[in-house]
């Protein structure tokens, strides 16, 4: 779909660039919004990522523009997160709601069909690296190989991290449903 790109040094117009990268705007915004938790920050990050991508466009060799843009965006987001020290993402582990449930109770709790709100809250509670991998894979449909490139980790790590992220998300959903049932 994407034409092979011209050599570096050629005059690349915003038109060429926009054609490759603007279609990924929604995906980019979604990732930024999940990582930064705030509309304004997410928009700023996406805009910054597009400018950086544009400046580096001469080095882009065609191929999957989405993963390339996400790599840049992810760096922008993490730089922003570090600038905001009050970013307390991890709630203390609540013994009361995480107390062991029997297998059948767990199934029961999970099956109370988590709604959008439950999922939103559960995903918000995950550490950044877990939240990010679920957004990249399950929401934005990036392949393991692409995620490995975006996050700069081996494919094996993508595999194990995604598994842990899903397990943790499941636990959070069960905890939320159990808490709901008790209240």
């Amino acid at each position: 779909m994407v034409e092979p790109y011209r050599d570096a040094g050629d005059n690349l117009s915003p038109a060429d660039f926009e054609q490759v990268f603007l279609p990924h705007l929604d995906a980019a915004y979604n990732l930024a919004r999940w990582l930064l938790r705030n509309d304004q920050d997410a928009e700023d990050a996406v805009q910054e990522a597009y400018i950086r991508a544009y400046k580096a466009f001469a080095r882009f060799r065609g191929g999957e523009g989405k993963a390339w843009l996400m790599t840049i965006l992810r760096n922008v987001c993490y730089t922003m997160i570090k600038k905001v020290p009050s970013h307390d993402t991890l709630e203390p582990f609540d013994e009361e709601i995480h107390q062991p449930l029997s297998e059948s109770e767990m199934q029961e709790a999970f099956r109370q069909k988590a709604n959008a709100e439950t999922l939103h809250l559960a995903l918000e509670k995950l550490p950044d690296e877990f939240r990010e991998i679920i957004v990249l894979h399950d929401l934005e449909g990036l392949a393991y190989k692409e995620i490995a490139a975006v996050a700069g980790i081996p494919i094996g790590t993508v595999m194990s991290r995604l598994a842990r992220a899903r397990a943790r998300l499941r636990t959070e959903i069960i905890a939320a449903n159990a808490k709901e049932a008790r209240s």
Partner: protein
């Protein structure tokens, strides 16, 4: 494949990330292992839930426009000549460098002496780009009652949208664009194989007072009516564009009181 190995691969198996050979081995184990089957079903259920229920955040419609505007500024600050001025060569963007840049400066100088306002040049550049980048329309519809409401919430005014299909200028869609640092509506009409971008925005700072410019074979015809600026841009000949504009003017007059 033993149970522990298989259990670790259920996620990647669900995600379609295993190679064929591993797939086959896993499926052999899976067939005889109820525990793995249950685990896989649970994984399916969870990912299905994530996909179905997790909110996907949408950017505001202005973000795209803003990014486009910023990219354009980037481009004009990184090279001496804003990219759209190179259009005055009538050339495509490819391979413009070195000697051609010198020509571009000459061409820009030439056109400046013709006194074509920046606004009209920018409108022509937008028109050309909308055709080149395959981004003519944000909303594709021949129905004015679809196109007009599409702009609601994207602009702080409501552009008049009329249909001229009976006269041979069918409405084909609309797009958000940027002109003179503000968001404007562009309504797109078609004439045979040609397109007309009709830019519309409130005439709060400048009125266009009926004017026609010819830039490299493109015509830009502007006017102001009922508090709105209109700028029609197309590669159509002057006569056809004037006909079009006349019809738009007639129609916007008729539909105005009813709105």
């Amino acid at each position: 494949m033993n149970h522990d190995e298989a259990a670790k691969l259920l996620g990647p198996y669900r995600d379609g990330e295993l190679d064929l050979a591993t797939c086959v081995k896993l499926e052999e184990h899976l067939a005889g292992c109820p525990s793995c089957q249950q685990e896989l079903a649970g994984e399916q259920e969870l990912v299905g839930l994530i996909e179905a229920e997790t909110p996907r955040f949408k950017p505001s419609p202005f973000l795209k426009t803003r990014i486009r505007a910023v990219l354009r500024e980037e481009k004009s600050s990184s090279t001496a000549i804003p990219w759209w001025k190179r259009l005055s060569l009538g050339s495509t963007f490819s391979g413009l460098a070195g000697a051609t840049a010198v020509l571009a400066i000459l061409a820009v100088g030439f056109f400046s002496t013709q006194g074509i306002p920046e606004l009209d040049r920018e409108a022509v550049a937008n028109h050309v780009r909308s055709l080149q980048v395959d981004h003519l329309m944000d909303v594709t519809s021949t129905d004015q009652h679809t196109v007009k409401p599409w702009f609601a919430g994207k602009l702080d005014y409501s552009p008049p949208v009329v249909d001229l299909v009976a006269s041979g200028y069918p409405l084909v869609g609309g797009r958000l664009d940027v002109l003179d640092h503000r968001n404007v509506a562009s309504i797109i009409y078609q004439r045979r194989k040609h397109y007309i971008n009709l830019f519309i925005w409130p005439a709060d700072t400048e009125s266009l007072h009926g004017r026609l410019y010819n830039l490299d074979g493109y015509h830009a015809l502007g006017w102001t009516k009922s508090g709105m600026n209109y700028l029609a841009v197309s590669e159509l000949g002057e006569k056809e564009l004037r006909d079009f504009v006349q019809m738009i003017q007639d129609q916007t007059a008729e539909s105005r009181p009813g709105e």
